[in-house]
């Protein structure tokens, strides 16, 4: 069928990615031919593999293992997208069958090149090789017989191209030409405007193309027949031009015109495919909106229908564009199918990965292939209607349900900008609502284990791809499953924060001068010093009422939000107290007028809850207080014994002095933790708030908006308004606590000195310390990278709780100064970016699993091995 030109010079076409099988008797010159036309590494010979497994290239008893090796190498090469030539006799159908199977498994085309040489030639060549000199003549004869029998069957066996070279002259004169596949348009670099599913919505398409800057050309009847972009951009249609909508022929006319004029490319959708079969005279069910198209096409003339048929027939399943950076297809394509050609590649490109099951609406259940996608190549597709187009693992679905009354969406490439227009009306009622009642939120799919476990990559807008290791995900899974609040209420976890660089100041491990200097070096001029409260970190979701909590977050038990710790655990075991606290916060937000001002019915707050002993009582009793108790029990005896020894005239002055200092350190340690402990509630219990204080310091998100970019002074101003509202109301106990602050200009020495003084005063009065943050959130350095969102400067006394009672002793400080901040800083940035991502996803109304993915990753990263004292 192929490749024949003249008898003298044969041009053998070989697809750039294919499995080339040489077929010929022993001595027919396969290896020589292969060496002449292919690179040495492209050729795998059975002789070589025989040598690999048996040390003897002619050991026929090793053939079985040798071919296993050969097949394995061929498979690996094809999986990597490399042309592969198999140099073996391959004269028997069984041996070729396996090679065809391997080609199919990797979705590449098998090609046969047959070397049909006279028996005498083969015999002479073998005789010239010492290792083959005594090969019986009958072996060559058998090969020849098998070869001849095979010739007519090769295409039936699955070879897409068969080149037969007869005689030495023809074989010597042959030229191999590598040809690209139809789907390979890597040389086209755009820029492109990729348009999502249209479904006969011609009017919306015209609007969208106009918005994109295309000028429409109309025929005599005013129908658009072409559109061109003044800057030479190319439109790319992801398919599903037809069905369901009001004017499928109109859409076809425009798109076909654009493709013919070279202004557009188009890949087929499943709806074109079915329409093509209908037009080809096959019997197909006129369902899913095809009936409308057929009816509309009936009003067109036959020539138009023939043009449509030819157009659809010529469509190629997918395109690889822009130097291989972009793949466009209708229903998405995993990386291993990019640039490949096979029935299943086309099937996936048209239908996606269907599981073979149908859901309760009779629609095929689709495997979410994009969730597993890890490729560097962007995949742009349509097919699955969803409320909005969002990037997921470098893939994006542009079907935003225009025909169902949604929007029609286009993606500008390489700008990655989305442009969309609303549907003019609901043209077709969807069979399945875009959301279902399964627990899992708006996307109609509950959380799946694959969303979170194993090694994961989370795409973030602020820091790119962030990896989560498997063992960290495993630990997070246990905590998330057993201890966390309902994931629907857990929209955020606070990132860890790095301390400032280690200070060399005598007697200090941490000192604010380092924090100011670091931000100055990053080019951050204005920083905000925020008092640290030494409570426990708490994230609070407060809804205006229980209805909001139920409708927006799926809260089932009548709560109006959630109050949880930095690992997502409910903050208070006592639901009653938690409820009162949420009520109080909601009332203060309301009294401050913030619900209306922020245009929201819920607020996500980052806060510090006090006292520390409220949550950490177990730790306090078993570790901190215990150490204090042990020291108080030990030292009186130690000191009196040493004093007695000294009185006996034994020189223990050094030892005694040291023990007195240690006793003093232990006392200071006890004082340090005691500051953060006080009783709460009253003796009768019953969920009283007495003694509980909460200091909100950041409004993280509200409906439709992440507030993570709001400058920190404005953040605190919002908190101040809540506090003022509480103060103005007649509550018996105030719950809200203010956060003291100071703005420092890192370039101004006097301002920096004032900042240091402020911190010294704060910590001298028993304060934990402070956090220094760039005043403007989301600050980036001169190199464009995110800077640390904040660093902590902990007070000298407070650090006894962290580094032990005796850490201030010079010999201890000297050693403790050797601490490695690199990992902690990197971790802080990664968790910060994940937190921002979670908030963005939440604000944009993305499905639960997308928000949860980012939140879960924060928890997993928290189990990375970092010095816990940092």
């Amino acid at each position: 069928m192929t490749g024949t030109t003249t008898d003298d010079v044969r041009t053998l076409a070989v697809p750039e990615l294919s499995l080339v099988v040489l077929v010929g008797a022993t001595g027919s010159g396969k290896s020589t031919f292969a060496a002449r036309h292919f690179r040495p590494t492209e050729v795998i010979s059975s002789d070589f593999c025989r040598g690999l497994v048996s040390d003897d290239e002619n050991d026929q008893s090793a053939s079985g293992d040798a071919f296993d090796v050969l097949h394995y190498i061929a498979g690996k090469r094809l999986a990597a997208g490399r042309l592969t030539v198999v140099d073996a006799t391959s004269v028997q159908p069984e041996s070729r069958k396996q090679l065809v199977r391997i080609a199919r498994e990797h979705d590449v085309l098998p090609v046969a090149i047959v070397l049909d040489m006279p028996e005498e030639v083969c015999a002479a060549r073998n005789a010239a090789r010492p290792d083959r000199a005594d090969l019986p003549r009958r072996v060559i004869q058998r090969h020849q017989r098998e070869l001849r029998r095979s010739l007519k069957n090769l295409e039936r066996e699955g070879f897409r191209k068969v080149h037969i070279l007869r005689g030495v002259a023809q074989a010597d004169a042959a030229v191999v030409v590598r040809e690209p596949l139809l789907n390979d348009l890597r040389h086209l670099r755009g820029p492109f405007d990729i348009v999502g599913d249209i479904h006969g919505c011609r009017s919306e398409l015209e609007t969208l193309l106009t918005r994109l800057g295309y000028a429409l050309t109309r025929d005599g009847e005013g129908r658009p027949v072409d559109a061109a972009h003044p800057e030479g951009r190319t439109a790319v249609f992801v398919g599903d031009l037809v069905d369901r909508g009001p004017d499928s022929p109109g859409v076809l006319r425009l798109v076909m015109g654009m493709v013919a004029a070279g202004h557009a490319l188009c890949v087929p959708g499943n709806h074109e495919n079915k329409l093509g079969r209908h037009l080809g005279g096959r019997k197909v069910q006129l369902t899913h909106g095809l009936a409308e198209t057929v009816e509309q096409l009936d009003r067109e003339d036959d020539a138009f229908r023939q043009r449509v048929r030819a157009f659809i027939d010529a469509l190629v399943s997918h395109y690889v564009l822009d130097d291989g950076a972009l793949v466009v297809c209708h229903a998405g394509l995993p990386e291993k199918y990019h640039g490949r050609a096979s029935g299943r590649v086309r099937s996936h490109a048209l239908y996606g990965d269907t599981t073979g099951e149908t859901d309760e609406f009779g629609l095929p259940v689709r495997y979410p292939w994009a969730e597993d996608y890890r490729g560097r190549v962007a995949v742009v597709y349509g097919h699955t209607p969803s409320p909005s187009a969002t990037w997921l693992n470098n893939t994006i679905c542009l079907d935003t349900g225009a025909v169902f009354g949604g929007r029609m969406t286009a993606l500008r490439w390489p700008e990655r900008e989305l442009v969309d227009v609303p549907a003019e009306r609901v043209w077709y009622e969807p069979v399945r609502p875009l959301v279902s009642e399964a627990p899992g939120g708006a996307d109609g799919r509950p959380l799946d284990l694959n969303d979170v476990t194993g090694r994961k990559i989370v795409e973030t807008r602020h820091l790119g791809r962030i990896a989560v290791k498997e063992e960290n995900a495993a630990a997070a899974l246990e905590v998330m499953s057993r201890f966390a609040v309902d994931p629907r209420l857990l929209a955020y976890l606070p990132p860890t924060m790095a301390p400032c660089a280690t200070s060399k100041e005598e007697g200090y491990l941490e000192h604010p001068a380092e924090a100011f200097a670091a931000y100055r070096a990053d080019g951050v001029r204005q920083v905000l010093c925020e008092e640290k409260h030494m409570g426990s970190r708490a994230v609070v979701l407060v809804c205006r009422d229980a209805d909001t909590a139920r409708e927006r977050f799926g809260a089932s038990d009548g709560t109006r939000g959630a109050l949880y710790t930095r690992t997502g655990r409910p903050f208070l075991d006592d639901k009653d107290t938690a409820g009162r606290l949420l009520d109080r916060l909601a009332r203060c937000i309301g009294d401050a007028g913030l619900w209306d001002e922020l245009g929201t019915d819920w607020v996500l707050l980052d806060a510090e809850l006090m006292p520390w002993s409220l949550k950490a009582e177990g730790l306090l009793r078993n570790q901190y207080a215990a150490v204090g108790a042990a020291s108080r029990a030990a030292f009186p005896g130690v000191l009196s014994a040493l004093e007695a020894v000294a009185e006996r005239g034994v020189d223990v002055a050094g030892l005694l002095g040291r023990q007195r200092e240690r006793a003093g350190d232990a006392e200071a340690f006890t004082e340090a933790y005691r500051r953060y402990c006080w009783p709460v509630g009253d003796a009768t219990g019953g969920g009283r708030l007495d003694g509980v204080r909460i200091a909100p310091f950041q409004f993280l998100a509200v409906e439709g908006r992440s507030l993570a970019g709001l400058p920190h002074d404005e953040q605190l101003a919002l908190a101040d308004r809540m506090i003022a509202a509480e103060a103005a109301a007649p509550y018996a106990h105030r719950v809200l606590a203010p956060t003291r602050r100071l703005v420092v200009d890192t370039e101004d020495e006097a301002s920096v000195a004032a900042g240091v003084r402020w911190w010294l005063d704060l910590t001298a009065a028993g304060g934990e310390g402070m956090v220094v943050k760039p005043l403007q959130a989301l600050a980036r350095g001169a190199d464009g990278r995110l800077v640390q969102p904040g660093v902590k400067c902990r007070g000298r006394e407070y650090l006894r709780i962290v580094y032990g009672p005796e850490y201030t002793r010079p010999e201890n400080l000297a050693r403790l100064r050797i601490r490695h901040l690199g990992h902690k800083r990197s971790l802080a940035l990664r968790e910060y970016a994940l937190g921002l991502e979670a908030l963005d996803r939440l604000a944009e109304g993305e499905p639960l699993w997308r928000v949860h993915e980012a939140v879960f990753a924060i928890l997993a990263l928290e189990s990375e091995p970092v010095d816990p004292r940092l």
């Binding site: 960290n472 860890t496 032990g804 004292r869």
Partner: protein
């Protein structure tokens, strides 16, 4: 340690006994810091020797750090805030044996007759960590002939509501040889401390036998002493490494690791010591599975693999999958089931993997039956719907067996205080009525039928201690409907493949 003079031996002979001169301040370097031996008093009447171990807290952490990669194998010892510098722990015991090694062996080169004599001794330990409290201290020392005074130390007088600390101030008085006294302390200090980071060296059994010679064999608490002394023999570091990630999460949340890492109870329901009710439960579950003829079974929340082990004993269960959210539980299960020593044929029947019923899980589809034995009560009620969906909506095995405690029966447990749940991790315990309501609602929503059975003695008033529900999936109209849809789609798909092949031909032609 104080002694008084006895006939023929002044109190200062303590110096000969301990091999340390009373008029010198001596110091010795030990593996965890400097040990000082001093004599606050030394005359013929009374002589007191004091051992002071100056633990270097920074070295303690940094040393521990080197053991595991990137962090200490045991987070408690890795804390700079540590009682080791103040409390009489195993570190002191080790120092004791090292500094007084001849006395420990009962040798005195200068005065060989002294070590064999008993003499009045008074030993004071100002801060002794004592798990088990003063009572246990008394039980351990009194049988050895000591008059014991053990006063608890308050945790923090500022917060009296916190109660006593785990430390006691210990005074022992008695007539013993110095060597005996040292050996008692050497063994019993770490036993009382019972710290998790008491690293046991391979020769620890030898040491225990040597130091315990003559007194341990007859000791009424011999079992407890040897258990505690040797209990951490099994690769402790390994154990700690397994839970490192979890410990870090606890740490970042100001929580003790034990509060999160509580999925494995090494004491209860072991092969050697099975809990009778657990045995009854497993019998009932196996019975239910056999009745429905299940062969491929999921044990969801398999814990330490007790049920998995029972299932494997019966060849009719051809595939058994144990799923748990706790990696540590799964490791324990693998160890108990001896997975690494199973024949290939046996091992092919069983798989253990981590998973969580808060999430749907494709690996769980297509099984005959799923067992949730004592699982649902460990899930917070607001998160039960997700579990229901994962099991009954997504995995959809033909049979689901659920067991859970019957809270009504709790009044029959004599040891259980009123109003308490049976396990600290139970998020709820249901009455029979509550369980029935839940199960029937789940069955209705997901197309199952359900029947109930009691497990354990069925009390006429309060029912059985455990309640079981067995769910059977209905062959619903919806199921048959989707089958029809499927066949419809198959023809469409078949068509598709032909079309696809044509396409490929076309691309090939053009290529």
């Amino acid at each position: 340690m104080t002694t008084t003079g006895i006939p023929g031996s002044p109190a200062t002979d303590l110096g000969f006994l301990l091999h340390k001169h009373p008029d010198k301040a001596q110091q010795f370097s030990t593996s965890h810091g400097t040990a000082h031996v001093l004599y606050p008093e030394a005359d013929d009447e009374r002589c007191t020797a004091a051992l002071l171990l100056e633990v270097d807290p920074v070295a303690l952490v940094r040393r521990a750090k080197g053991k595991g990669r990137g962090g200490a194998p045991d987070s408690a010892l890795a804390q700079y805030v540590n009682d080791r510098p103040y409390a009489a722990s195993s570190l002191l015991a080790v120092a004791l044996a090292a500094v007084f090694s001849s006395a420990f062996k009962g040798q005195s080169a200068a005065r060989p007759e002294l070590p064999g004599r008993t003499r009045p001794l008074r030993i004071e330990v100002p801060a002794l960590p004592a798990r088990g409290g003063p009572g246990l201290v008394e039980r351990l020392f009194a049988p050895l002939g000591w008059k014991v005074t053990a006063e608890p130390v308050a945790l923090d007088e500022r917060f009296p509501e916190w109660g006593d600390s785990r430390y006691v101030r210990l005074v022992l008085e008695g007539e013993r040889t110095v060597a005996e006294a040292l050996r008692h302390l050497y063994v019993l200090l770490p036993v009382l401390d019972d710290a998790k980071h008491y690293w046991v060296a391979p020769d620890e059994v030898e040491k225990l036998l040597r130091s315990g010679a003559g007194w341990l064999e007859g000791h009424p608490e011999q079992r407890l002493i040897t258990d505690r002394y040797l209990t951490r023999r099994r690769s402790l570091t390994q154990d700690a490494l397994e839970r490192l990630a979890l410990a870090r999460l606890a740490e970042s949340d100001d929580t003790e690791p034990e509060r999160l890492d509580n999925a494995v109870d090494d004491e209860a329901d072991t092969e050697e010591r099975p809990v009778p009710l657990a045995v009854r439960r497993r019998e009932a579950i196996l019975g239910a599975l056999r009745t429905v003829g299940a062969a491929r079974v999921l044990d969801l929340g398999c814990g330490q693999g007790q049920l998995v082990g029972e299932l494997l004993k019966d060849p009719r269960f051809t595939e058994v999958v144990g799923l748990d959210v706790s990696v540590r539980a799964l490791r324990t299960a693998a160890r108990r089931l001896r997975l690494d020593r199973m024949t290939e044929r046996q091992a092919a029947r069983v798989r253990l993997f981590q998973g969580s019923l808060s999430y749907t899980d494709r690996r769980l589809t297509g099984y005959d039956a799923a067992v949730l034995s004592e699982v649902i009560e460990h899930v917070d009620p607001p998160r039960l719907p997700a579990l229901e969906y994962a099991v009954f909506g997504a995995a959809r095995p033909a049979t689901v067996v659920v067991t859970t405690p019957n809270v009504e029966y709790n009044v029959r447990w004599e040891t259980l205080p009123a109003g308490h749940v049976r396990h600290s991790d139970h998020r709820f315990e249901w009455t029979r009525e509550e369980f029935r309501t839940w199960a029937e609602e789940v069955a209705r929503r997901h197309g199952y039928g359900v029947e109930f059975a009691p497990i354990g003695p069925d009390d006429p008033e309060v029912g059985a201690p455990t309640q079981m529900a067995v769910f059977h999936r209905n062959a619903t109209a919806k199921d048959s409907g989707s089958t029809a849809q499927n066949s419809d789609r198959t023809t469409q798909d078949g068509d598709e493949t032909v079309q696809g092949r044509n396409e490929t031909m076309k691309e090939a032609k053009a290529a």
